[in-house]
Each structure stands twice: as structure tokens, then as C-alpha cells.
């Protein structure tokens, strides 16, 4: 295919604005898949993705389209993850494109996350085609949304397409706009290869399959290639494009998007953002923008049954085969035994991994509350990074602690500005600015500790703004904070997995809330259980779980033993998620209790 007939684009949208449905319609309209082959939302093919209506992995598909001018075009769609956890992955996907469709809901208008992604696309000099979707809705107001896009983002909307992916309106116009407005890729077919990896996954037959954009040069089957960052060398066994199943074409030419596979066994060698070049006659420089994996959030994962430790390890290793962003290392907790400290890109990433471990590997897990990475400067002049509150050194050894702050952008209707500010202030946020997007909508910017974002910031925003708030954030910097560790003692014994790091000014109230919450969560047992919250040796809160009352099955009618057994089984089922900590049975949700207090 000649370069002038190739278009590489992605779709930018806020959750629920219809990105996946538009992708489906494009696939259908171009005949890439017949209607019969279409499953709803073809591109989100993980169960969890479909259930949650989100995209976690990038997906790529090549569409063949005959333009109005009668020429055949090759349109490469790169579907990007739609969540703040995957910002870096999104940026690499955008770097593989020349243009993007900006899908905005005709009723909802521009949201915080849309903005963040649009700005990112603009940074990559992408040509942006606004698509106003869901114009069939009674509440649709395309003109208002167009104006919003012009005012807020500064985009010209004269070429905007009005569409309804649900009913099929505007799909052809979208395809024609892609051909008309998005520039064809440039590049030299004979230059040393530079191919950008924007995603990768593991296939048990072919090994690691890298999603790539050929920026310079070309790839043929049998070539010896090299990953410039990891240094791995491999021979190309498969090279081609997705339709959306992988199709082996034997080659990929300059400007094209597709995949390459070879003798690569470890997804960690094939990092998103790395550059592939020729093993001999390599490119002088890798493509810009590579960044190593950078977990933002850590938590402990422990098997409920300690005998499941090896199974959990296997499962994590298998998961890592397909997810280079997952990091983990063994960790021991006095309370929970042997487990793993796991790092994630964010809360969603964490949730998804946990859910998949339980669902796909049938593991019962205890998850400790998520933590950010603290920089702890010790009195001896050294700095250590702490992602597990239990590992915070004693107060006397600490000179000061720094914690990560994010720049949080919130967009809300006018009426809720007060609520947003109140919550953000309460979350130790520093007000940075406020801009009116139009007469009704406001963009508010705060610097907020990431720690506070993790603890229900978005949930509180949502409920205080009746669901109208949209949030985006990015890591800003590390700043000194007065932080202390609050320990929890059950039955007099400290439970390391329940320790938490909080700001000094609110340690006392957090301690009280946490103790009260634990009292609700921990069921009555045969003895009274004192719950204490303490900073160092100073107890700041106290609660008691009363001893439980007698518990024994009474009369057994005429030898009906099965019924008795069923009652016992039900009772046992209820305890499956409990972990014996010392002599106390603690339900798994207790370890997340800190997230549940308000």
C-alpha cells in the first residue's frame, strides 16, 4: 500500500461516550467483520472489560475502505485504554497515529478525561476530528457541545461529524473525514527500521506479539530485529495486521500499523514505548518517549489459605506474562503470613488484577489497603521508599517524609463548585485554579496528595455532585508532609496489615473512625476483642467487639442430619474470607476498612 492511502488514527472519548460502539460500527461498515461475526463491542474482549464498559488493553484493527475518490484506503484504528491509570499507554498509542476522532456525547459535553486525552493528542500534533455522538438522544444538544469544544479546547468544529453509533448515523461521514483530514504517514522505506511498540500480549503459540507502528523502514518475515531498550534480538516469525484477529501478511511497510512476533518469550522484554530496529544496521536513535514501568499504587495480596501461596505466585507470574505493568515481590506479614507486595498503575489496574486472580485462578485473596510510595528521609541522611505502611521506620529515625501529589482536574457544572472545593480542601488539596468552560461548566484544578485520591476522593466527588463531576489526574511531584503511622491492635496485638499512614492532623479522627469501622466488620467471637488505634505507643482510640453469645444447633427433628450439615456448611462458607490473626478471625474486608470510612 502506498503511504498516501494509509491513515492511522485512534479514538478519544470519555467513558460511556460511545467509543467502543463507534469502533464496532466502523468495523461493520467497512466489512472487516460481517454482522454475524460481530460480537457487541468486539474490541473489548476481556470479560471484565465488557462488564465494566472499559478498555484495558489497547486493540488494533485494520479497515479497508473505498473512498469517495474511488481509491482503496487502509485505515488503522488503534483503540486506546480509557482510564487514567493507563495514561502512558495512551500516550504511546497516540504517538503511533497521525490523527484522532474526538468522540463527545451530544448531551454530556466535554469531560475532564476527554480534555486530558485531547491535550495529549495535541502534544503529538494529531489532526483531530470531532465526532458528536448520540445525536439521536432527546437531550442531545450538538450545537452547545460544538461550541464547548471550540471554547474549551480551541478546536475548529466546522468539520465535526454528527453521529449516532447506535443507529448508524454518520458512520460513512466519519470514514470519509478520516480519509480527507488525517494526514498520510511519512517515512523512508529504506531507512534503518524504527518501529514503536504501543502494546504487547502473550500468545501461547507465537510468544510475545508486539503491537507496532512502523515509523521508518520496513519489516519482513525472517528478518533479525532488536529491541533498542531491552537489547533483545529476535527473528521475525509472524508479521501482519489485525482484522481484528491477527493476519500474517509476511511484511509491514513504512507508515503501517500491525504486529510482529518472533522468538520472544517474556512480555517484560517487550515494553510499551520501546523501539524495534534491525539487529544489523540499527537506527541511530530510539524513538522518543520511552519510560519504564512506574507503579503508582501498591498493595499486599495474600492467600486466605496459606497453602495457596504457590498458586498465587504462579497466577501472578502468568498474569505478568501479559501485563508488563504488573510488578510484585514476596512479602511477609506477621498477621497474614506469606504473600506479595504488588505494584499497579492505579486503582483500576489493581482492581482488575485482583478480580482476574480470583476469577480466572479461583483464588481467595486478602488485599491490604492500597498505599502510595512515600519518600522517607532518615536522620542518618539516607532516603528509603516505603510502599507498605508497616515498614515505616520508627518516628525517631525519620527526619521527614515526602508524599506524591497529583494535579487533579475536575469538571463540574457551576452549582457544584462549592462542593468540589470543600471536598478537595478536606483532602488536603491546594487550590491551583478555576476556569469557566462555558456559562455553566467549570474546570477546577487542585494539587492533592495521591494518598487522598486513593481514599474515596472520586466517590465523594461523584456523590456530592450527583454524578456530574469528571476527574483526571497526573503525577505532579513529591512534597513534604507531616505524616504518621496509625497502628491497629486487635486483642492487644498489633496487626501489621492494618497499619496506615495518615496526616498528623487527622490521625486521631482517622484512628477513631477506623476502630469504629473495624468494630462493625469484625464479627463477635467467643471472647471480647478490644480494638485499639495507636500512634507509636500512644493509644488514640478504643473499641470493643463483645463476646458472642452461645451458638449451638438445637433440636434435630427425626434424624434429619443433612439439614444440620447444610447449616454448618453455610456457616463455614461465611467464614471463608476470614483470616485468623492470632486468635481473632478477621474478615477480608477489614483490611480495606480504611477505604470505607468517611
Amino acid at each position: 500500500m502506498q503511504n498516501k492511502n494509509i491513515r492511522n488514527f485512534s479514538i478519544i472519548a470519555h467513558i460511556d461516550h460511545g467509543k467502543s460502539t463507534i469502533a464496532d460500527r466502523l468495523i461493520e461498515y467497512t466489512g472487516t467483520l460481517s454482522k454475524r461475526e460481530m460480537e457487541a463491542q468486539v474490541l473489548d474482549n476481556m470479560d471484565i472489560e465488557r462488564e465494566r464498559g472499559i478498555t484495558i488493553k489497547s486493540q488494533t484493527v485494520r479497515l479497508n475502505y473505498k473512498g469517495k475518490d474511488g481509491e482503496e484506503y487502509e485505515l488503522n484504528l488503534i483503540d486506546t485504554p480509557g482510564h487514567v491509570d493507563f495514561t502512558y499507554e495512551v500516550s504511546r498509542s497516540l504517538a503511533a497515529c497521525e490523527g484522532a476522532l474526538l468522540v463527545v456525547d451530544a448531551a454530556q459535553g466535554v469531560e475532564a478525561q476527554t480534555l486530558a486525552n485531547v491535550y495529549m493528542a495535541l502534544e503529538h500534533d494529531l489532526e483531530i476530528i470531532p465526532v458528536i455522538n448520540k445525536i439521536d438522544l432527546p437531550s442531545a444538544d450538538p450545537e452547545r457541545v460544538k461550541k464547548e469544544i471550540e471554547d474549551v479546547i480551541g478546536l475548529d468544529t466546522s468539520n465535526a461529524v454528527l453521529a449516532s453509533a447506535k443507529t448508524g448515523i454518520g458512520i460513512e461521514e466519519i470514514l470519509d473525514s478520516i480519509v480527507d483530514y488525517i494526514p498520510a504517514p511519512e517515512g523512508d522505506e529504506n531507512a534503518p527500521l524504527q518501529a514503536l511498540i504501543f502494546d504487547s500480549f502473550f500468545d501461547s503459540y507465537k510468544g510475545v506479539i508486539a503491537h507496532i507502528r512502523v515509523v521508518q523502514g520496513h519489516i519482513k518475515k525472517g528478518m533479525k530485529l532488536k529491541l533498542m531498550n531491552s537489547g533483545k534480538v529476535f527473528e521475525v516469525t509472524d508479521v501482519g495486521c489485525f482484522k481484528p484477529q491477527p493476519v500474517d501478511l509476511g511484511h509491514l511497510d513504512v507508515g503501517e500499523v500491525g504486529f510482529v512476533a518472533g522468538s520472544l518469550k517474556d512480555v517484560r522484554d517487550v515494553r510499551v514505548g520501546d523501539t524495534i530496529t534491525y539487529a544489523e544496521n540499527p537506527a541511530a536513535e530510539p524513538l522518543p518517549g520511552y519510560r519504564g514501568v512506574n507503579p503508582m499504587v501498591y498493595c499486599g495480596l495474600y492467600p486466605v489459605e496459606s497453602s495457596d501461596y504457590d498458586n498465587l505466585k504462579d497466577a501472578l507470574e502468568k498474569m505478568q506474562i501479559n501485563d508488563a505493568a504488573l510488578v510484585f515481590e514476596p512479602e511477609t506479614s506477621v498477621a497474614l503470613g506469606f504473600g506479595f507486595r504488588c505494584g499497579f498503575l492505579g486503582l483500576l489496574h489493581m482492581d482488575v488484577i485482583q478480580e482476574r486472580l480470583e476469577r480466572e485462578y479461583n483464588l481467595k485473596l486478602i488485599t491490604t489497603a492500597p498505599s502510595v510510595i512515600y519518600h522517607v528521609y532518615k536522620t542518618d541522611g539516607t532516603m528509603i521508599k516505603v510502599s507498605n505502611p508497616a515498614e515505616l521506620p520508627p518516628q525517631t529515625e525519620i527526619e521527614h517524609i515526602e508524599e506524591p501529589y497529583v494535579k487533579a482536574t475536575v469538571i463540574v457544572p457551576n452549582d457544584f463548585v462549592g462542593a468540589v472545593m470543600e471536598i478537595s480542601q478536606d483532602k488536603r488539596g491546594e487550590f491551583k485554579g478555576m476556569d469557566y468552560l462555558d456559562t455553566n461548566r467549570v474546570m477546577i484544578t487542585y494539587h492533592i496528595p495521591l494518598n487522598e485520591i486513593i481514599f474515596d476522593y472520586f466517590d465523594r466527588l461523584k456523590s456530592a455532585t450527583r454524578g456530574y463531576a469528571s476527574l483526571d489526574y497526573e503525577l505532579a511531584d513529591y512534597k513534604e508532609s507531616k505524616l504518621v503511622k496509625v497502628d491497629i491492635l486487635l486483642n492487644g496485638d498489633p496487626v501489621d496489615a492494618l497499619s496506615t499512614i495518615v496526616h498528623k492532623d487527622r490521625a486521631a479522627s482517622r484512628g477513631r473512625q477506623l476502630a469504629a469501622k473495624l468494630k462493625e466488620i469484625i464479627p463477635q467471637q467467643m471472647f471480647e476483642i478490644p480494638i485499639q488505634a495507636a500512634i507509636g505507643s500512644k493509644v488514640i482510640a478504643r473499641e470493643n467487639v463483645r463476646a458472642r453469645r452461645k451458638d449451638v444447633l438445637a433440636k434435630c427433628y427425626g434424624g434429619d442430619i443433612s439439614r444440620k450439615r447444610k447449616l454448618l456448611e453455610k456457616q463455614k462458607e461465611g467464614k471463608k474470607r476470614m483470616k485468623a490473626v492470632g486468635s481473632v478471625e478477621v474478615p477480608q474486608e477489614a483490611f480495606m476498612a480504611i477505604l470505607k470510612i468517611d
Binding site: 467467643m526 451458638d551 433440636k555 434435630c556 442430619i561 443433612s562 456457616q571
Partner: protein, 387 residues
Amino acid sequence: MRKQRWGLYIHIPFCRQKCFYCDFPSFAGRERYEADYTDALCRELAEQGVLYREKWGRPQTIYMGGGTPSVLDVALLEQILQAISETFAWKGINEAERPEFTVECNPGTIDEAKLALLRAGGVNRLSFGVQTFDDALLKRIGRIHTGAQAREAMELARAAGFRNVSMDLIYGLPGETQAMLVHDLETMVSLQPEHISIYGLQLEEGTAFARMQEMGKLSLPDDDTVEAMYDAMTSFLPQHGYARYEISNFAKPGFESRHNLSYWQDVPYLGIGAAAHSYLEGQRYENVREIPAYIEGIRSGSGVRRQEEAMTREIAMEEFAFLALRTARGIDRRHFEQRFGVPLDAIYADAIAKLKRQGLLAEDTAGVRLTELGMKYGNVAFEEFLL
């Protein structure tokens, strides 16, 4: 024929009135079925009873429960007793070798004639559903008799020659105080039954009490009071000569209910009648629950017994263990090993160690048994024996 210890259970699903707390398979207002039911029951007994007699010999225990067996009139009772005695042909066998034969009675539905009939028919043990001696409480829980009738029933039983009588008590009734329970216990021991069963009231789904509770019309004593009642009961009865040989059962020496014990000791039993349960050759069965369906099943010969969940070796071990733990003797190591071919510790060492730590279990070379605390938290201990 291989001699084998076994028990026979006979279910009489009729009641004059359904007690408000009761979720057993028993029905009021079904008098019209009594005659047909008795026919069907006798036929099942003749067929099944003979089958197992030929296999295992006579049963060591017979228990007629309900419902209210004593609600049947003299003619129907006689028909059943006749069928039993024919099936097991014990005429001429001396009294001491006859089975323990219990019939449950409601103090409001007996008289001299019925008791004499039972005695003559081989019944040697009576179990009275007393529940409480407080008339106001009796009324509140849907019983049809008074406290005076319960006391009188005891006299009638003695007069009819019964030397082994049990009484049931329930505590934690709506509006009951600890003083009222103590009064019941005192009355109970003054009557000197040989055996006492005592249960804490439980709200069961589908009962009148469950509905009242939902509507907020039931005022049950609070947990602390019920706990105090339990403590009072478990110390009072042993002080008055009744040993606790099972979680809910107390007896004077030598008067433990052998039938009741057989449920906990892995002894097979044949259940006759609607909704009766059987435990035969290591499998558990239940007869159809509805009276008309039962009668029809027997008449047509299509069968009334269906197997419950198939017994695996694992389930068998679990049940063996948690049932045995209900008794004061607990799990007998030798018995367990004989039954399963592995030592108890090979399966349950962890559970036993954990429960010992918690003070719920005591252990010696003969076996393991619940401590006093363990009896109180029986469910916690039983659960540990589920594999």
C-alpha cells in the same frame, strides 16, 4: 442374617394445633387423612420393617414421633402397635430384651385408656412435650395444654406403669424471664422424670413466630438473658441428678435415650411415614413430605423414599465427627478408625489442635469431646470438622 444395631423411627404428622415456633413436618386440620395414613404407615412398616428385620434382626430402639402420635384415637394407635408387634414378633420375649420404645405425647391429648394401650403394646418410654409450666407462656406459643395438665400427665404415666419418662422444655420464649425458667426447672425436677430434653427457642423460617418477628410483634428475651438462662439450665440440672450426656439432653444414670444417641453414633435407622428420615447402609434418605403424596406413593407402590445428597467418604467422616461431638463421650478414636481405616488424627489433627487451643475441645487417648465451653459454642467446633 447379620446382627446389627439399628433403630426404627415412625412419624405421625398430625397435630391438634401447630405450635407457633414449630417447623417440623406436622399439620393441623388434616384429621381426614388419619385413617388412610395409618393404613399406609402400617403397610410401609410391614414391607420395610420386615426387610430390615430379616437383614439385621430386631431394632434396639423404636421411636414414634411427630407431630403428635398421641393425637391419634385408640383404634388407630392400636392398629400401629399391632403392626409393630407383628413385624418384630416380640410376643413371649422378656421385657428386658425388648427394644427401647418411645412415644411422644402431648399432655393435652392423653388419657388413661391411651396410656394403657401404649403400655400393653410394648411402649416402655414416654416423651412429653411440656415446654413450660407457665399457662400464659403456653398460650403465647400455641400449645393446647396447661401446666396442670403436664403435671397430671406425669401422674397418669406413672399410674400406667411407665418407669422411663422424658420431658421437653424450651427456654427463651417470648416474654420469659430467667426467674420463670428457674421456676420451670424447679417444677420439672420435682416431678422426677428420668430424662429431660431442653432447647433454646430458635426462630425458623416459615413459622408463625418468624412472621410475628418480621412484623415486630414478638418480644423475645435479649441475648444476655438467653445466655443467662442457658447458664442457669446447664448448672441446675446436673446439680439435681441429671447428667448432660448430649448437648440438649440430660438424664438420670442409665436413662439416656438410646434412640437419640443412635443418631449421633453412626447407627443406621429406618424411617417410616411422611417426611421420615432414614440412614441405611451409609446413605441418607427422606420420605416424601406431603401426607396425600405419601399415602398415594404407598398405595400405588411407586415408592416414597428418595435419597438425599449421595454420601461420600468425606461427608461420612464429617458427619461421624460432628454428630459424635454432640455427645458427652465425643468421638471415639477406635470407632473412627474402625469405620474409616485411618486414625482420627490423620484427618483432624489440625482441627483438634485449634479447638483445644480455643478451649472448646478436650482430648485423651480414648477420643476427643467438647468441653463445657465447647458445648456452648458447638457450631464453632462442628464447623472445624467439615473437610
